[in-house]
């Protein structure tokens, strides 16, 4: 059982309690995957700390004016609707009361199923023909317009990537077979 991402992030920032920290340290000694994630969180934290200055090249004057205008607009809108009118309890037909929640569940289920979690691109290559080659911990994918073709990696595999010429390459040990598997996707 691996710790959650939030606990790994808290550990990386030294913000876990004593016992949780000791348990986590014990787990990290034998789990390279989690150790690597902690290192990544630490790296991210250090980088964020190093970005202590404001981004250059931004004109703060117009931004401040826009923010003030939005605040005034919000206050004005609040005055327009106050005091709140007496709320009358709406009469909902019983059919709608049954159908709407069911419909909501169906549509929500479809929506959730059709939206896979975003993947973090690790290697990306593009060329003038519109071919885009992206390698991520989940797959190496070749896309062209509405078409796509991807070689997938096992979710638990530790995948390494490289780019050479016109190809992206990934390598991992297949936990089921024990064999090293090397995938290549080519743009030509």
């Amino acid at each position: 059982m691996h710790p959650s991402q939030s606990n790994l992030a808290l550990y990386a920032g030294g913000e876990l309690g004593l016992w949780a920290r000791m348990r986590m340290a014990r787990h990290l000694r034998r789990c390279q995957g989690c150790s690597r994630q902690v290192e990544e969180f630490r790296g991210l934290r250090e980088w964020m700390q190093s970005q202590d200055g404001m981004p250059a090249g931004i004109d703060w004057g117009p931004l401040a004016a826009e923010l003030k205008a939005n605040i005034r607009l919000g206050l004005a809108a609040g005055q327009c609707v106050a005091p709140a009118p007496q709320v009358l309890r709406p009469v909902i037909p019983w059919r709608a009361a049954v159908v709407l929640p069911v419909l909501l569940v169906v549509v929500l289920g479809w929506w959730l199923q059709s939206w896979p979690p975003p993947s973090v691109p690790a290697v990306k290559s593009a060329d003038p023909r519109g071919l885009v080659l992206t390698a991520s911990p989940r797959a190496i994918e070749l896309q062209q317009g509405d078409w796509a073709f991807a070689l997938l990696h096992p979710p638990s595999a530790e995948v390494t990537f490289s780019v050479s010429g016109q190809e992206a390459r990934s390598r991992y040990v297949d936990s089921e077979t024990g064999y090293v598997t090397i995938s290549h996707v080519y743009t030509q």
Partner: protein, 374 residues
């Protein structure tokens, strides 16, 4: 509304795939490997809006129908209808399959295409090559898999020899220390995110700076048949453009292919393997004493994982492989790779990865027994 919701839900429901209409396996009649079984168990299609998503999870069971031991196999995966010109391959190196034995090869892929577009098999799986233990090869070699598999096999022999010598000289505990050191290096190795844009500059530069030339520093291997002489790339922030490297053939044999690995150094002192620059000219024939220049017409932009930018300060290169005109291949020795910088940035060979994984999963005794097989 209910009907509409039902239709939407039904359209996203996965449906089982008809393998005969979706996939085609083309192995030559005289192939040294035969398909014993093809399991398409969890393959399915899903319709999402106007797109058809097909996920193929196949486990091919292949039998060595030759008399020689198989060391590696490469399968060519073509989805020409989906991405014209696009192709992929799945290679399994570091095998030791005797005559008559079977072994699995898994192919997991996903296709996305507009509904109603095209017909016929979506994916073709062909044999690109088989490498035997005497380094002979069978197959059409459309992807130059002969060279790749030979390099992996030579690396496997080099690394098994190394671990066996450690075992002989220092016993099982010495081997354990060596394997643990390898696992520690693998865990410490930092990977970079890389974005490559061919012909021109990458569009977004996270660290905007004026472009300036940076010279390559080279790690020179005394035994290498090729010597990098000079190299230059245009660098701007986290982006390096059009690397050009001049090399000299200092061997007595003509060379037809080589690769130069390159390492970048950032301002925080971190060093990372960026990839390799291959000699892309298929007609290359670099005679003894001759010089040649290779270049990549590409911009490469680097960032750390999670999108953190990085500023390039230096570039290093090293000769990672050389193929002579007669087909012989040179790779660096373990002694050459013991350079502290290379130990820090290079990924282990596929065989070292397999052996260390075997130790991690099944322990020292299993590893020692595995080494004794060779």
């Amino acid at each position: 509304m209910l009907v509409l919701g039902g239709v939407l839900a039904a359209s996203a429901q996965p449906a089982p795939v008809q393998p005969a209409s979706s996939f085609k396996i083309n192995f030559p009649a005289d192939s040294p490997v035969a398909v014993v079984n093809a399991d398409w168990g969890e393959s399915r299609t899903t319709t999402l809006g106007g797109a058809l998503v097909l996920e193929l999870h196949s486990a091919l069971s292949l039998r060595n129908s030759s008399q020689a031991r198989i060391r590696g196999v490469t399968l060519l995966v073509l989805a020409q209808e989906v991405t014209p010109g696009g192709k992929a391959s799945v290679s399994v190196p570091s095998l030791d399959i005797r005559a008559g034995e079977t072994f699995p090869v898994r192919i997991d892929l996903r296709l996305l295409r507009p509904v109603g577009a095209g017909g016929g098999p979506l994916v073709e799986i062909n044999l690109d090559g088989v490498l035997f233990d005497n380094l002979s090869f069978y197959g059409p070699n459309r992807l130059n898999s002969r060279r790749s598999m030979t390099v992996w096999e030579l690396e496997a022999r080099r690394d098994r020899r190394h671990f066996k010598s450690v075992l002989e000289a220092q016993g099982p505990e010495g081997l354990r220390k060596e394997i643990l050191a390898s696992l520690a290096r693998q865990a410490d190795r930092t990977s970079l995110d890389v974005q490559v844009t061919r012909r021109g500059r990458a569009t977004a530069v996270a660290v905007a700076e004026r472009e300036h030339p940076v010279q390559f520093a080279f790690l020179r291997f005394p035994e290498a048949p090729l010597e990098p002489l000079s190299g230059l790339a245009q660098v701007s922030g986290n982006e390096a453009r059009t690397p050009r490297i001049e090399v000299l053939n200092r061997s007595d044999r003509p060379i037809r292919y080589f690769e130069i690995g390159w390492i970048i150094k950032d301002r925080q002192g971190g060093q990372f393997l960026a990839g390799s620059v291959p000699a892309s000219d298929p007609a290359l024939k670099l005679g003894p004493g001759q010089k040649s220049q290779i270049s990549e017409d590409a911009s490469v932009k680097f960032s750390r994982r999670l999108g953190q930018p990085l500023a390039i300060e230096g570039l290093s290169g090293f000769v990672s492989q050389v193929e002579f005109a007669d087909g012989d291949i040179w790779i660096p020795s373990r002694a050459a790779l013991a350079d502290p910088l290379l130990e820090q940035v290079l990924a282990p060979s596929p065989e070292e990865q397999r052996l260390t994984d075997l130790y991690r999963r099944r322990g020292l005794v299993a590893l020692v027994n595995e080494l004794k097989k060779f």
